[in-house]
C-alpha cells in the first residue's frame, strides 16, 4: 500500500509539471491555433536562466524563478511578434515549420553558450519528510503546491480580470472578440507571455529533481502535446486533467509494468486513443 501511495505521489508530481507546461501550450493553441513546437525549448531556456542566476549570480531560488519567468516571457512575446504574427494568414504548415525553426535555434544557442553537459540544479529544499511509511522529498511537495497554486492563480486571472476575460473571449470566438473591440495583438502577446512564464516556472520547479541539458524539452513537449490532444486542444481544464492522467499512467506504469519503457506509455496511450477517437477524449464535435 505504501509503495502504491508512493507511486501516486510520483504521479502527482509528474502530472502537475506536465499540466503546467501543457497549459501554456493549450492557451497559445486556443488563441492562435498554432501548435507551438518551440514551447519545449522555452521550458529548457527557463531552466538554464534559473540555473545560471543561482550558480553564477548567487541569487536565491525564488529570485531565480522570477528571473526565469520574466526572461522566458519576454522571449515568448518576441517569438509571437517576430514569427507567428507575420505568419497569421499563412497556410497552417508554415507556422509549424517556423516553430521548429525557433526550437532548433534556441537549442543551438543554449548549447553554444553553456555546452551540452548535464547539470544538476541546486535547491534550498533538500529535507525529506516522512508521513507514516511515505517518504516525501520537500522539493516534490513544493512542485505540487507550486503547480496547483499557479493553476489556481491562472484560473482567477482568466475569470476575474478584464484582460483574462479578453483571452477567453478570443479563444471562444475570434470574430466575435473583434466585434466587441478586443485588441488581438495585445491578447496574443499576453497569452504568449503567460505561456512562457508557466513553462519557465515549471522548469525551475522540476529541474532540481531532474537534470538540466539542452535537449531536456524534447520529451516533455511531446508529452505536453499528447496531453492537450487528450484534453482537447485549447481546453484549459483538459490540459490539467490530461496532465494528471499522463503523470499517473507513467508513474504507475513505470512501476508496475516496465521502467525501461515508461516514456513510451504516454505515446502508446495517444496512439490507442486517437485510433479509437480521432478528435481526442474530451472534445465536443469535430474541430
Amino acid at each position: 500500500m505504501d509503495l502504491f501511495l508512493q507511486q501516486v505521489l510520483n504521479g502527482l508530481t509528474l502530472g502537475s509539471i506536465y499540466g503546467l507546461v501543457a497549459l501554456g501550450l493549450t492557451l497559445v493553441y486556443g488563441i492562435l491555433h498554432v501548435p507551438n513546437f518551440a514551447h519545449g525549448a522555452l521550458y529548457m531556456v527557463g531552466a538554464y536562466v534559473a540555473y545560471f542566476t543561482m550558480v553564477d549570480l548567487g541569487l536565491n531560488y525564488w529570485l531565480a524563478m522570477i528571473a526565469a519567468g520574466a526572461v522566458v516571457a519576454i522571449l515568448s512575446v518576441l517569438c509571437e511578434r517576430l514569427v507567428f504574427h507575420p505568419l497569421r494568414h499563412a497556410p497552417p504548415i508554415h507556422d509549424k515549420i517556423a516553430a521548429i525553426g525557433i526550437l532548433l535555434f534556441l537549442e543551438a544557442v543554449v548549447q553554444m553558450y553553456w555546452g551540452a553537459d548535464f547539470r544538476r540544479m541546486p535547491t534550498p529544499y533538500t529535507e525529506i519528510l516522512h508521513f507514516g511509511g511515505l517518504t516525501i522529498p520537500a522539493q516534490r511537495l513544493l512542485i505540487i503546491a507550486g503547480a496547483f497554486g499557479l493553476m489556481g492563480a491562472l484560473h482567477l486571472y482568466l475569470k476575474k480580470t478584464m484582460t483574462g476575460a479578453t483571452i477567453i473571449a478570443m479563444a471562444q470566438n475570434r470574430e466575435g472578440a473583434f466585434l466587441v473591440g478586443i485588441d488581438a495583438n495585445r491578447v496574443a502577446m499576453m497569452t504568449f507571455a503567460i505561456a512562457g512564464m508557466l513553462a519557465a516556472v515549471g522548469a525551475t520547479l522540476f529541474a532540481p529533481i531532474n537534470l538540466v541539458y539542452p535537449a531536456m524539452g524534447h520529451l516533455l513537449i511531446m508529452k505536453a502535446f499528447v496531453i492537450i490532444i487528450l484534453g482537447g486542444m485549447g481546453s484549459i481544464p483538459g490540459a490539467i486533467v490530461g496532465g494528471l492522467i499522463i503523470g499517473f499512467a507513467e508513474a504507475l506504469g513505470g512501476f508496475y509494468i516496465s521502467n525501461e519503457y515508461k516514456d513510451v506509455i504516454a505515446f502508446a496511450l495517444l496512439v490507442v486513443i486517437l485510433s479509437v477517437k480521432p478528435t481526442g477524449l474530451f472534445t465536443k464535435g469535430v474541430r
Partner: protein
Amino acid sequence: MDRLMNFLVSPVLKWALLVLAVAFPLISSNEYHIYVMATAFIWAIAVYGMNIITGYCGQLNLAHGGFFAIGAYVVAILTVDHEWAFWPAFIAAGLAGAIFGFLVGVVSLRLKEHYFAIFTLCVGFIIYLLLEKWEALTHGSLGIINIAPPEGFGFVDFTETVPFYYLVLAFLVLSVWLVSRLSRSLLGRTFLAIRISDDLAQSLGINLMRNKVLAFVLSTVYAASAGALYAGVVRFIGPAEADVVHTFDMITYLLVGGIGTLMGPLLGTLAITWLTQMLQSLEEYRMIIFGPMLVILVIFFPRGIVGGFLTWRGRRLANKASQQDRGGESQASVQTPSTPSADKQEAGNNA
C-alpha cells in the same frame, strides 16, 4: 533572358545536370568530396519521399526520419544478425517501409493538420525509443556495426567510393524519374487537389483516405530505401539515425529547394549539404543559422528556390501576354472577347 529562362525549365537542363553528376567523380579527384556527394544523394532520395506526402499531398509528416531509420535497421539486423546478403535485405527494407508506413498511415491519416503533425512526431519518437530500448533486436544504444555493403558484380566493387557513388546516382535518377511521372499523372493531380483542400477534393469524388495512405506509403518506401542505402555506405548505425533532428534537417532541405516542386528537393539537399561542408567547424552549431533561416524562408520566401523561380517566371509570362493583348487591342479595335483569356491560360500552362 527569355532563352535562359526557357533553358532552366526545359528537359535539356535535367540532362545537363545528369551529365554533370556522371562526370563529377572524373572532375573531382578528392574522394571525400565524392563520398559527401553520395551521402547527399541518399538524403535527397529521402527528401523526395517527404516531398510526396508533405509537398504534393500537404500533410506535414514528422516521422520521416523514423522511417529512414527503419530502413537502415532492417538492413543492419538482417545482414549482421541473420547473415543475409545486402540486396535481399535492401528489398526487405523497402517492404518494411511499406508495411510500417501503411499501418501508421491508416491510423494517423484519419487526423488532420495539427493533429497529424503531432501524431507523427510522437510516432517518430516511439520508433526512436524502441530502437534504443529493444536491445535484443536492435543492440540498443550501442548500435550495429559491420553491416554488409552492397555486393558488386564482375569488376564493380561497391565498397569503393566511386562505384558506390554511381550506384546511389542510379537510385536517385530512378527516384526523380518516378516522382516526375507521378507529379504529371492523375494520381499526382489528385494529391495536389488534396493539398489545396480536403473538402474540395472530396466533393470531386476523390477518396481522401485511400489517396493519402498511398502518398504516405510511397513516401515511407522512399525513406526506408534511402535508409537502407545509408546503412550500406556508412556500415555503422545507432538509434541516433531516428532522431527527430534528421526529420528537421530534411524539412530544411525541402523548404530551401522548394516544397512541392520536382527539382527542389535535390537542389535544397545539395545546397545545404555543401554549405554545411564549407562551415564544417560549425557542424555542431549549424542550427544557429538554419533555425532562423527556416523562419525567414517561411515568412518571406515560402516557395523556396525552385518554387520562387517558377512563380516569378509565370508572372512574367502572364504580364507579357497581357501586354501583347493590350497592343493587339489598340491596333485592331474589333477583337473577340475570348482571345485574351485564352492567351493567358496558355502562358499559365507553360509555366
